[in-house]
């Protein structure tokens, strides 16, 4: 297995390099360093000298990929791509264009993101699987049909509707929670309950439908009939045998997201005023802060790869027949 993991890590290097290259190319296809300077210098009294000065100060005065004015290795190393992107492989994110240290920001903002994502993930997993197993238990009955219709209805509604609806009902009309905002420490709970509830309700439709489909596939198999014939209760059959055997497809979708939980949710964080990494990325895109955008894309890619490796490893845990070679 160790060989397998090492090989996957080595595979990750060209993937990350490609992602980096793509991000870099896309960003500078849309924005030139002059554009970035104008954005940061404002709209009034911006002189060409000021733009040149800003670029020099922030290191955007170099060629993108090839420095014809340099000699030897510097033709490649003394370029914007090398300077700005390759340092990421050492997890050196550098400073944002407004001067703030990116690693520090990520360290601060991952906690609010996690505070929402973790309970949503854990409670959601429990609730969605339980609900799906309940539907499977009542399969073929009007209750199952009603449940599936409910799921389809819920998954057909835009996520934004749940956010605004939740804020309107629980925040504005019923005064249960603050409509938006965040406080660190113990006071955080009252700001987190509503976004977590909204996220849970918003996710129940498609998740429960997906899990139901997996369980329905399992329930007709021989081992289930054998379990029932042994006299096991239906609860035990569902939660132990069916759930256990449906774990591989569940893990495929679940484990891969675990490392990225702290990356946050763009919509939820923006609407509820949660200062997490999701809103950090959105703000950076709006401010055309390439330093943050490239860091977050790199981090997201890295964690996705980690998630995939973890998923593979988790297969060996839930299914002893699987070997990673």
């Amino acid at each position: 297995m160790l060989n397998y993991i090492v090989r996957r890590i080595l595979y990750a290097i060209p993937i990350l390099l490609g992602v980096n290259l793509l991000t870099f190319a896309l960003f500078f296809m849309v924005n030139t360093p002059d554009d970035m300077a104008r954005i940061h210098l404002g709209v009034k009294h911006v002189t060409p000298e000021a733009i040149v000065g800003w670029k020099a100060e922030h290191g955007y005065d170099k060629p993108l990929f090839y420095n014809g004015a340099a000699d030897g290795l510097e033709t490649v190393s003394d370029t914007l791509f090398t300077e700005k992107s390759l340092k990421l492989f050492a997890l050196d994110f550098g400073a944002a264009d407004d001067g703030r240290d990116i690693a520090r920001e990520i360290g601060q903002r991952m906690w609010p993101s996690l505070a929402i994502a973790l309970p949503t993930f854990l409670v959601g997993l429990l609730a969605y699987i339980s609900f799906a197993l309940l539907l499977v238990f009542f399969r073929g009955t009007p209750l199952d049909t009603a449940g599936v219709i409910l799921c389809v209805a819920l998954m057909s509604i835009s996520g934004l509707f749940y956010v605004i609806g939740g804020q309107f009902l629980m925040g504005k009309l019923w005064h249960w929670f603050p409509i938006s905002g965040y406080q660190p420490g113990l006071d955080a709970w009252k700001f987190l309950l509503m976004p977590v509830l909204v996220s849970l309700v918003a996710g129940i439709g498609d998740s429960a439908r997906f899990y139901r489909a997996l369980f329905i596939e399992e329930i007709g198999k021989d081992y289930v009939r054998t379990a029932r014939a042994k006299g096991l209760s239906e609860l035990r059959v569902l939660f132990r045998h069916i759930l256990g055997n449906a774990m591989i497809p569940i893990l495929t979708g679940v484990v891969v997201v675990i490392p990225r939980l702290f990356m946050g949710s763009l919509i939820i964080e923006s609407f509820f005023g949660i200062p997490g990494l999701g809103s950090y990325t959105i703000d950076a895109i709006q401010a055309q802060d390439f330093a943050i955008v490239r860091s977050m894309v790199f981090l997201g890619s890295l964690l996705y790869i980690v998630g995939l490796v973890l998923t593979d490893i988790s297969y060996t845990v839930v299914d002893p027949r699987v070997r990673l070679e």
Partner: protein, 762 residues
């Protein structure tokens, strides 16, 4: 189930205040102003920041020599850290002093002398901290000590010191610092003696040393500003530039002590986000106690704030409005100001209605809920807002939004009669009154010229009407009040209303009544009829929107940075306006970067842009049409690339003049030229609508001042009472939800048990 109910009750009763309060319960009842921000500030360095959303903080932390009077209009400058208004002396090219009334052409240098109030002190800050030996405690700071400091509050020792004239001179030098990147360096280098050379020298010096090394800007020669004594300094300006006084009320010219730079430029500081750009140091009424732009910014009362009092006089009506109730009181009037991050309009508005924000603007989404138009067409509060005790304040912003023509364009540009008439025709046809009504909910005033209301040179009513686009609405005036003879107005008396003259230059219409011609006192104005625009278009060589020579339809191109679905209705409206003259409009929507690029290259034809006043002087608007200031080639702010020799000559004369009838006459002529040439369609001046709760006192809109928080007062007990009243939790939906869940679960449980007990056969 019991646990859930218990938890809900616990949650709803655990707090002493309303459970949905977004603030810490310990702050309840304190003298705090609550507000919000929707965009994190980029810069808090006074030499670098040039944005309204940053001045909200900086204006209250830093103190330049001058400030705007809080209550008086038109806006008046008054001393802040200075003892009196600056005195100015003029010198010729040989350095000989000139009399005050000298011709501007003879003046080579103006020297402003600023005398400071003794005893002004800085906020507590670690850069001023001293050890037992009287040496700076944290300058230099050891790497291992800095390693143990994570937050700014971890600097346990702070100090303060008196403000001196050195700090002001140091800040002026900082404008030329290559690492500060001051946005006004280019502008000020043209005015402050030696600043351009200083910038060049500092740039070379910075290149010659490692990037992290401290650049001692004080040791380089610079005679644009110098210290006379501990409380006096002088600034030397090239030629005569009376508007410079307004710059002295902006944070760019606020003091920054050298030890602040020395403190923040130490190795390792920037990596911890300890920079002057994020942790400002000032003498203002407040200091930035908490700087978390991801969540909130908290300003606390500066314990060392100097003696400062609420104004004792204001405008007529201010006393009646309660704005002088605190006259003479020591400032600031509140201890803390909290700005919470609120990116979306809807949560902001709802929290304002719940009483958690003291004031709010009026967005388009909430406009109908908050504002109704009364019988006179004036904005008024809805009954719902009045029931809550909310108050409305409106003010015209010192801004202008315009549609510009690229004067370098072969079709719409140039000063030929053909192009001028085309622009005039479009100025009439594009109905910005309708635009204001549809897209701004009435929050704007139709533009009559380049100078907005509230700025010297602007004229109200008929006297300020743009006769190219508007005409007096005499018929309406004639009908409205009862006439002295014959009671109510009788239309049959009016034999004719004089048609507008073809020259489009006569603002005063005449009424012929009973065969006798008399001058009407028309109070209202209306847009000229579309026929006038069509006639002008035909005279321009495009009858019915077709080129008279080629017969080809006239197609114009509108460049805009507004794209996406939200801009579609606006673009459709523009197409419709041009179609009124049978002109085809092609919208070239692009992102802001491409738009800027087009503007700098002059490849646009028609565009929309705006300008907010830096200071309340007509020069700050008329310079946007000054030829040498054109965008293409010179990189200036004259985005239309307009150049009229007479206008330029008058501008050069006007900019050096003090406000006087002579200056007004020059401005009138400049405005007349700009109206006739029509390089812009003077679209509208935005109007600011502000709502505030009953517990907020001393809130008078001031569009120029940035240090207004010190005048604000709140009534915390009243706020707490309103918040409690407006935020009682509604519990029945929770009970209903739990009952609903139980109703769903119970049959499932019953069915499960039934199935478990059933036999295989069953």
């Amino acid at each position: 189930m019991r646990a859930a109910i218990f938890f809900l009750l616990f949650v709803l009763t655990a707090c002493s205040g309303p459970v949905n309060s977004p603030y810490a319960t310990v702050d309840a009842g304190k003298s705090i102003v609550y507000s919000a921000f929707d965009e994190r500030p980029k810069h808090l360095d006074p030499a670098r920041s040039y944005s309204e959303n940053e001045y909200v903080y900086l204006g209250n932390i830093y103190e330049p020599p001058l400030q705007y009077h809080y209550l008086k209009r038109p806006y008046q400058l008054e001393p802040l850290t200075a003892t009196t208004m600056p005195s100015v002396r003029y010198f010729d090219a040989q350095g000989r002093e000139l009399p005050a009334n000298s011709e501007p052409a003879r003046i080579a240098v103006s020297e402003y002398e600023i005398k400071l109030k003794p005893g002004t002190r800085y906020q507590p800050h670690p850069c001023f901290a001293k050890d037992a030996a009287g040496k700076p405690r944290y300058i230099p700071i050891k790497a291992e000590e800095l390693a143990g400091i994570d937050k700014f509050e971890d600097f346990k020792i702070t100090g303060s010191r008196e403000l001196t004239s050195d700090d002001f001179v140091y800040q002026i030098r900082r404008l030329a610092h290559p690492r500060v990147q001051s946005p006004i360096l280019g502008l000020m280098a043209d005015y402050i003696v030696g600043l351009k050379d200083l910038a060049k020298t500092l740039g070379q010096a910075a290149k010659a040393q490692p990037k992290e090394a401290y650049l001692d800007i004080g040791k380089f020669g610079f005679d644009g500003a110098y210290v006379v004594d501990r409380y006096t300094y002088r600034i030397r300006i090239k030629g005569k530039y009376p508007q410079f006084l307004y710059w002295l009320a902006m944070p760019f010219f606020a003091p920054v002590p050298e030890e602040v730079e020395r403190f923040y430029r130490q190795p390792g500081m920037a990596e911890k986000n300890f920079t002057l750009d994020w942790q400002p140091v000032g003498t203002g009424a407040y200091y930035l106690a908490e700087n978390d732009p991801n969540r909130l910014m908290r300003l606390e009362r500066n314990p060392h704030y100097h003696e400062d009092h609420y104004p004792r006089d204001g405008d007529p009506g201010d006393r009646e409005a309660g704005l002088l109730a605190d006259a003479g009181k020591r400032l600031p009037l509140v201890d803390t100001v909290v700005y919470a991050l609120e990116k979306e309009d809807v949560p902001y508005w709802n929290k304002f209605l719940q009483g958690y924000y003291d004031a709010s603007g009026v967005s388009s989404d909430s406009f109908d809920q908050a504002i109704r138009m009364n019988a006179d067409g004036e904005p008024d509060l809805t009954a719902e807002m009045r029931d809550r005790g909310i108050q409305l304040a409106t003010a015209a912003r010192p801004s202008l939004n315009y549609m510009g023509f690229n004067m370098l364009d072969p079709v719409v540009g140039g000063l030929s009669a053909r192009a001028r008439k085309l622009r005039q025709a479009l100025s009439i046809a594009i109905d910005y009154d309708e635009f204001i009504s549809i897209f701004l909910n009435g929050r704007g005033l139709p533009g009559q010229g380049p100078i907005p209301p509230g700025i010297f040179g602007h004229k109200e009513g008929l006297a300020g009407m743009n006769p190219v686009v508007f005409e007096a609405d005499c018929a309406r005036q004639y009908l409205s009040p009862p006439l002295e003879k014959g009671g109510r107005g009788d239309l049959t008396d009016v034999t004719s209303v004089q048609a507008p003259e073809k020259s489009l230059g006569t603002p005063t219409p005449l009424l012929q009544k009973g065969g006798e011609t008399q001058e009407a006192t028309c109070a209202k104005i209306k847009r000229r009829p579309l026929d006038d625009a069509k006639r002008l278009l035909a005279e321009a060589g495009y009858p019915n929107g077709r080129d008279a020579v080629t017969g080809q339809p006239l197609t114009l191109y509108f460049d805009t940075a507004a794209s996406g679905p939200e801009a579609k209705s606006r673009m459709d409206w523009f197409r419709k306006q041009f179609a009124k003259l049978d002109i085809q409009l092609v919208i070239r929507a692009t992102d802001y970067n491409r738009f800027q690029d087009k503007m700098s290259k002059g490849s646009e034809q028609i565009f929309e842009w705006g300008w907010n006043a830096d200071y309340p002087d007509p020069e700050n608007f008329l310079f946007l049409l000054y030829g040498p200031n054109k965008k293409v080639g010179a990189g200036g702010e004259n985005s239309a690339n307009y150049r009229n020799p007479e206008f330029d000559r008058l501008f050069e004369r006007m900019k050096d003049m003090d406000n006087s009838p002579e200056r007004q006459a020059v401005i009138d002529r400049m405005v007349e030229i700009a109206r006739q040439d029509a390089p812009w369609i003077y679209a509208f001046h935005p109007k600011s609508f502000g709502l505030r709760h009953a517990w907020v006192k001393n809130a008078k809109p001031n569009m120029m001042a940035h240090n207004i928080l010190k005048y604000r007062r709140v009534d915390p007990p009243a706020r707490a009472a309103y918040q409690a009243q407006w935020n009682r939790p509604v519990l029945w939906p929770a009970a209903l939800t739990l009952l609903g869940l139980a109703a769903l679960i119970w049959p499932a449980v019953v069915a499960y048990r039934k199935r478990q007990k059933a036999t295989a056969h069953a």
